[in-house]
Symmetry: C2
Subunit: 416 residues, 2 copies
């Protein structure tokens, strides 16, 4: 009686945690002047075959629909964004600053942090070639993490550049066709033994020493040094580090690439992105040519990182409690007062208070117990005192008698 | 370059309208003490074959996954709710008051208001057999509509009862097996010609007159009369009407059923639900037996109704503007001030303000134009006056010089 393998049920506590991520993502993106869009969860398989690269296509959650269409549950947002922008770009002022929050699907072997569905925030600036767009995007990534209660002791951003590697390969006379193969070796630099890496690099006539020198040489990418300075001016020096060993899997990046990592040993990527200047053009068969830079941040690794970061976990707990807690519980001490209580409950709810009450007759003690279990701040008792009601603060345990007509005003003062 | 047939792209304006529905649904449900949950978008096909009935199973968006599992994009929420409640009901205090908001899928012929995907709010009370649960659920449906700016001139709730019809069929000696067939005739009462209906009813030995008398006789269902009185006591008399011609398509209802209709001629159903006391038991193969009552409200017909209701459309427009509008636009009049501006923008965003600025050099006039287009309330100009900044209210056109250190406090007063 569980969900399908790799899929999650969101019981109320899980759902509140998910809403905390989504709500925080949305709030911070809006502070940055980003506006929200979304696309369909199901797309034509073809749009992923075009540009997403072999890794994603091999893991597509795809099938043939009842009209014999090849369709896929979306594995990522960027192809949909490129499709939508290409279709209607004239209607929007450039640069676009767009974000979206949705669910994504991959049919892959299950392992820790790798479900078959996950939520992801995507943020993109479309139509701005200047490096100021990278700075704005990276700054947003950092502020998103900070909004969850994370500090520079918990995470940092590693910034690299596809352009820098393209230059390196040119000086070594290695063709563009072989670059993906070469970058795959760089991508595994930290996980592979030195011997294996040396051997693989040997096929390109390059030594591990040369690669390491290039990775650590500040002169390797003047453009990144400029970007780093801009981020420093924003007060983000503790959060960013140039590290050319980051290359990112997706083939469509054309310039800067960046990833957020947790500082703990396992170095898990929490978010990643980069510049992809050709994707919109390719999706519109050349009709619309707009440079773009963006990133994605998933819910699974981020959720684990929050679990492991006490300040962040504490902040999330407060949010979850606030989302679920009731404000007022109406204790119906005398059934003769039920109709009066119901009428007042309707008015309180209309004013925006969160109010609950017993649907059928229950003992007064039991009703107070329910009020506590539901996290109510205030219990209002309808009984012999009518038309007065007894208002009890369930935190301070103080209670007082109030004319029922004064109740809404009184509660406005008391509810935090 | 569009989405798949029957699927929607949500460009920013569409997305803001969707968020307005979702946000309002969530807010009103919480006022009623409902807490949110969610399930997977993909479920085993079997759970729909069990109980959802032939109409839904015929329209399933189903396929075989790469592990040869029969899976379906969810067409409705109730089977998932029953599955989840049956699996972990001991952990939750009864009655559960749970809601969920998600996307659903049906593979059906496209027509107005019937896409292949839609959003739906589902609200359920699980574990309460008393009619007070129906009253709470129907009251919530009505308040949801009112929160969108709808009044009793725009919509009403028709309430009926499967129990009442079961009693009617018993007096006519018609077996329970034939009741679905009979209720299908009642369901079409308003859309079918009298001749055809008479003929179909003849097979049951019943006349159209008998059915009409039963539909309009207040004595047909004493339980419904009691429910109506409870709703009247909540001040909802203008919103509800007993009408036994409503039977609802889904086979799992066992008691009261109800639908919200717009008052315009076409009588489209905006929301519908009822009591389904056996579903949790059936899903747990008898292990968990909990009565339940709930409803679903979709985004498509509701959205059309808002379009056609000026007060509701106006309220939505305000919400959409508020969701998308920027608060502050930083006009960088001198590039030498860009770093000072960026530092201050970072601080303002950290305080929660929505701030944007030009990513690259632009003429001052052009920047003010952008500020207006983005709907900013305030423009802050960084130029020769530094360390003072010029603060311009873009509505009143008033401007004043302010020391930059005073800016956050000043903006707090000015931003509405």
């Amino acid at each position: 009686m569980g969900p399908l393998p790799g899929f999650r049920d969101f019981y109320p506590e899980d759902c509140a945690r998910r809403n905390h991520l989504i709500g925080t993502w949305r709030e911070v993106c809006r502070r940055y002047g980003f506006i929200e869009f979304d696309g369909p969860i199901l797309e034509s398989t073809e749009i992923y075959q075009r540009k997403s690269g072999p890794e994603i296509v091999g893991q597509l959650f795809n099938f043939t629909d009842k009209s014999h269409r090849e369709v896929s549950l979306r594995p990522e947002m960027t192809p949909t964004l490129a499709r939508m922008v290409a279709a209607r770009e004239r209607e929007f002022r450039k640069p676009l600053k767009w974000f979206s929050i949705g669910q994504f699907f991959r049919y892959e072997k299950q392992q820790r942090g790798r479900l078959r569905e996950f939520y992801q925030l995507n943020c993109d600036i479309v139509g701005e070639p200047a490096a100021g767009a990278e700075a704005e995007i990276i700054s947003l990534m950092i502020d998103l993490m900070r909004a969850f209660g994370m500090t520079s002791s918990d995470f940092f951003v590693r910034i690299s550049s596809r352009m820098a590697w393209a230059g390196f390969l040119q000086t070594k006379n290695i063709s563009a066709e072989r670059s993906a193969q070469f970058l795959a070796i760089v991508d595994k630099l930290e996980r592979e033994t030195e011997d294996v890496t040396e051997k693989k690099l040997g096929e390109f006539g390059i030594t591990l020493g040369e690669v390491r020198d290039f990775v650590h040489d500040p002169q390797s990418s003047p453009a990144l040094s400029q970007l780093q300075r801009e981020l420093e001016q924003r007060g983000l020096v503790d959060f960013v580090r140039i590290d050319l060993s980051v290359v990112r899997g997706l083939p469509y990046y054309t310039g800067a690439v960046f990833e957020i990592f947790s500082r703990e040993v396992s170095l898990r990527a929490v978010a990643g992105g980069g510049r992809y200047d050709n994707l919109v053009r390719d999706f519109s068969d050349g009709a619309v040519d707009l440079p773009a830079v963006g990133f994605g941040m998933g819910d699974v690794v981020l959720g684990e990182l929050i679990d492991e970061t006490p300040a962040a976990a504490d902040q999330r707990k407060k949010h979850v409690n606030r989302e679920q807690a009731l404000q007022i519980y109406a204790v119906i001490a005398k059934e003769e007062r039920r109709n009066d209580a119901l009428a007042q409950i309707a008015r309180l709810r209309a004013e925006g208070f969160r109010v609950d009450y017993p649907l059928t007759h229950a003992k007064v003690g039991r009703q107070f117990q329910t009020a506590e279990q539901l996290g109510a701040q205030i219990a209002v008792l309808y009984g012999d005192e009518w038309p007065d009601v007894k208002v009890k603060d369930l935190t301070s345990r103080k209670e007082e008698l109030v004319p029922n007509s004064d109740l809404p005003a009184r509660l406005k003062d008391q509810i935090t």
